[in-house]
Symmetry: C2
Subunit: 377 residues, 2 copies
C-alpha cells in the first residue's frame, strides 16, 4: 500500500496477451508527449486517424492531432493526420456511425499501416475500436480514454463494438489496442457526476480482486473525491492491473473468468433499463447493483454481513448511491432474465465471498433475488 | 501423382493454424452426412443458423437444414434451426445485407454457442462469415461451398467481409471456420461457365506452388472438363492443400507470403474493372491475368518462355481464355495503380520463375506492364 509521496508520476501497467500484449501508460499533464509515445510503440507511423467525441475535440483531441501532424515519418515526410469528431452519446455506437467512419477512412486513403487513435469515453473507444478491427480486416489502434470509466474499464481488454437498435454491444470484435495512454489531466473538463460514477468500477476491482486496494480506497476516498493527482493515478493503475489480470486469463470470455468483471452488473443493467433515460448513470447503477449482489450473497450465506457494511461505507465515502428507492422488482426481474448471463432461465450472479474474492453462481431462484433488490430500497 | 482409381472417395485436408486449425472434408454425394460431421467437429450443437444463396436454397441448403433439424442436442432437445436465403449476386456483400443478418440473428435468439452455416459461393461465405465473426464478437461457423471457386479458394483461409459502395472487400475480419465441407455433387446445378471459371484458380495453384500438380492437370484437363468425380475431388484437394499451406505461413497477410495467391490478380482486377459488368467472370480474368504476368516475367527475364507455352496450353485445355482482345491499356493502368498491391506509385507483381514457384517483385515500371498487356491482345 503506497502513501502519496511514494506514488510515481508515471506508471506502466502491462496487459499480457502474448503477441497482442500492450502497455497502459498512466501519468498527469503529459498529453503533449503522447505523440512520441505512440510513434515509439508503433515503430512506424505515417498516417493517423484521430476519432474523437465532439465534446473533447477541443482541447484534448486537437492537442494530439496537432502534435502528430508535426511529426515526421521514418522516410522524412510529415505524418498524415485526419480527424473526425463523432456526436457525443451512446446513440453514436450505431451502424450508421460505423458506416460513416468506414467511408471516411476510405476517403482518407487508409491502408494497413494506418493507425486509429480513439480520443474519448467508452463510446468512442468501442466505436473507433471496431472500425479499426474491421477496416481492411484490422488495423492498429491506440486508446486515449477521457472519462474515468474509460480509463479504468472500457479502454482495457479489447472489447469493441456497436449496439443494435434493441441490443447493446451485440456486434463487434475482440481487438486489442497497441497502447492505452492516460493523462489524468484530461478529466479536468469532466463533470463531477461522470467522474464519481466511474469510481464505482474502481470500488468493484477492490471487491472482486484486490483486498489491499480496497483498504487503500477506504483510507483515501476523500483524496479521490478531491481528485488528488497522485491518488487518482494510483486508483487508475490498480484498477487497470486488476482488469489486465482478468483479461489475461480469459481474453475472449471463454473460460468464464472474465465474468467476474460483471459484479453488480446484472442488477445494474436492470436498473438502467427500467429507470428513465439518463436518470441513473452506469456507475451509479453499478454501485447499487453491487449492494444488491452483496445482500444476495449474505442471504445465501456466502459472505459475512461485514462485507456489506464496508462496501456501503466506501461507496458513501465516494459519494455514490447505496440504495435505490425507485427499484421496481416486477420490472427488473424480466430484464434480468433476458440478460446474457442467464442460463436456461435460471439467474447467474457474481457474488462476493469476502473483500477481494467473488464466485460465479448459477441456478439462483427468483425469491432470493427479489429480497436482495428489496433490501436496497 | 495419383491416377483415377487411387483417388480416395473421401479426403481431409487439414488447415494448420494452432488452436484455430480446422479440417476441409472433400467427397462426392455425401451431403446427407454433413450434419453428423458438423456435430462431431463442434462437439456441441444446439442452434444452427443456415445462411444461403437464394439460388441454392433448394435443394442444397434445405438438405442441410432439414438434416440438422432432425438432430438432438446432448441434452436431448432437438437442434434449433433457422434458415435465411440471401439474394444471389455480389451486391449482397453489403452493409445492408449484413445488418439484415444481424437483426435476424438477434431475433433468432442467437448466442455464443450458436453456429453459422454458410451454404453458397464466395458471396455467401464472405458475408455469413463476417456476420459470424462479429455477432457477440464472434461465434463459430462452417463453410459449405457450392461453387468451384468457393471450394478451392474463398472458403479456405478465413478472410471474411463485405464491400463498401466503391471498394471491394474493404471491411471484414479474419475469422476461421470450424470446418469446410465439400460435396462435389452440389455442383451438378452449377452452370459450365461458372465451373470453368473456377478452374483458373486451380491452374493458379499449380503455377505458384505445385509443379507435380501442374503436370497432373496437363494430363487430366479433359477429365476436369467432363467433371469426372475423382478428378474433380483430386483437383479440389490439391488446391486446398496449396492454399492451406500458404495461409498457414501467413494467416493475417502480414509476412507477404499470402500475396502469392494474387498471381494474375492485379491484371485480373483491372480487366474486371474496365470490362462491362458481367462480361468477364473473375476466373476468366484471372486466366488472362496469369498470361499477362507470365509475359511480364519473360520480358524481365525472370522465367523461360516455355512456362508461358505450358500455361497457355493448360488454360486452353481447360477451355479458359488466354488472350483478351478488348484489353485497354490506358484504362487498365490507372486501375492497377489504385490497387492495394501498389507501393509508393510503383507497381508490385507476383511473377513466375518456373512452374511451381513465383516471386514478389516491386518497383516495376509502367512500360514493361504495358508490353505484357499488349502481348495478350
Ligand atoms: N469495451 C468495454 O470493455 C467496455 C466496458 C465498459 C463500458 N463500455 C462502454 O462504454 C460506454 C460508456 O463509456 P463512458 O461512460 O465513457 O461514456 P461516453 O463515452 O458516452 O462519455 C460520457 C460523456 O462524457 C463526455 N466526455 C467524455 N470525456 C470527457 C471529458 N474529458 N470532458 C468532458 N466531457 C467528456 C462525453 O461527451 C459523454 O457525453 C458504453 O457504451 C459502454 O457500453 C465498454
Ligand atoms: N474470402 C476469400 O478468401 C475469397 C477469395 C476469392 C473470392 N472471394 C469472393 O468470392 C466471391 C465470388 O465467389 P463465387 O464465384 O462463388 O460467386 P457467388 O457466390 O456470387 O456465386 C456465383 C453464382 O453462382 C450461383 N451459385 C452458387 N452455387 C451454385 C450451385 N451449386 N448451383 C447453381 N448456382 C450456384 C450464385 O447464385 C451466383 O449467382 C466474390 O465476392 C469474391 O470477393 C473471397
Ligand atoms: Zn460497468
Ligand atoms: Zn481469385
Amino acid at each position: 500500500m503506497l502513501s502519496g509521496s511514494q506514488i510515481p508520476k508515471r506508471q506502466t501497467v502491462e496487459v499480457s496477451l502474448g503477441d497482442r500484449s500492450y502497455p497502459i501508460e498512466i501519468g498527469t499533464d503529459w498529453i503533449e508527449q503522447f505523440c512520441d509515445t505512440i510513434a515509439g510503440v508503433l515503430g512506424d507511423l505515417s498516417h493517423a486517424l484521430v476519432i474523437t467525441d465532439a465534446a473533447v475535440e477541443t482541447p484534448w483531441a486537437m492537442k494530439v492531432a496537432t502534435g502528430l501532424a508535426k511529426m515526421n515519418t521514418t522516410g522524412g515526410d510529415s505524418v498524415r493526420v485526419n480527424l473526425l469528431a463523432v456526436p457525443s452519446g451512446e446513440t453514436s455506437k450505431s451502424l450508421t456511425q460505423l458506416d460513416t467512419l468506414w467511408q471516411w477512412m476510405l476517403e482518407s486513403s487508409t491502408d494497413r499501416r494506418s493507425v486509429v487513435i480513439a480520443v474519448g469515453g467508452g463510446v468512442i473507444g468501442d466505436l473507433a475500436g471496431f472500425a479499426a478491427a474491421s477496416f481492411t480486416r484490422g488495423i492498429r489502434f491506440v486508446q486515449i480514454p477521457t472519462t474515468l470509466l474509460a480509463m479504468v474499464d472500457s479502454s482495457v481488454g479489447g472489447k469493441t463494438g456497436i449496439n443494435l437498435p434493441t441490443a447493446k454491444n451485440m456486434v463487434g470484435a475482440f481487438w486489442q489496442p497497441a497502447a492505452v495512454l492516460i493523462d489524468t489531466t484530461v478529466m479536468s473538463t469532466l463533470p463531477d457526476r461522470s467522474y464519481i460514477s466511474g469510481l464505482a468500477e474502481v470500488v468493484k476491482y477492490g471487491v472482486i480482486d484486490d483486498a489491499p486496494f480496497f483498504e487503500w480506497l477506504e483510507l483515501n476516498a476523500s483524496k479521490l473525491i478531491e481528485r488528488d493527482d497522485e491518488a487518482v493515478r494510483y486508483a487508475i493503475a490498480q484498477s487497470c492491473r486488476s482488469k489486465a489480470n482478468v483479461v489475461g486469463e480469459d481474453e475472449r470470455e471463454t473460460s468464464g473468468r472474465r465474468a467476474i468483471l460483471n459484479y453488480g452488473h446484472t442488477f445494474a443493467h436492470a436498473i438502467e433499463a427500467t429507470a428513465g433515460y439518463g436518470e441513473v448513470l452506469h456507475g451509479e447503477a453499478v454501485a447499487i447493483g453491487m449492494q444488491m449482489a452483496a445482500n444476495l450473497s449474505i442471504e445465501l450465506k456466502l459472505c459475512d454481513p461485514d462485507l456489506l457494511q464496508r462496501q456501503t461505507a466506501l461507496l458513501k465515502a465516494c459519494q455514490l448511491p447505496t440504495t435505490y428507492a425507485a427499484a421496481d422488482v416486477n420490472a427488473m426481474l424480466p430484464v434480468m432474465k433476458r440478460d446474457k448471463k442467464v442460463s436456461h432461465g435460471n439467474l447467474r450472479f457474481v457474488l462476493p465471498e469476502r473483500i477481494g474474492s467473488v464466485m460465479l453462481l448459477g441456478e439462483i431462484e427468483g425469491s432470493g433475488v427479489i429480497h436482495a433488490i428489496e433490501a436496497c430500497r
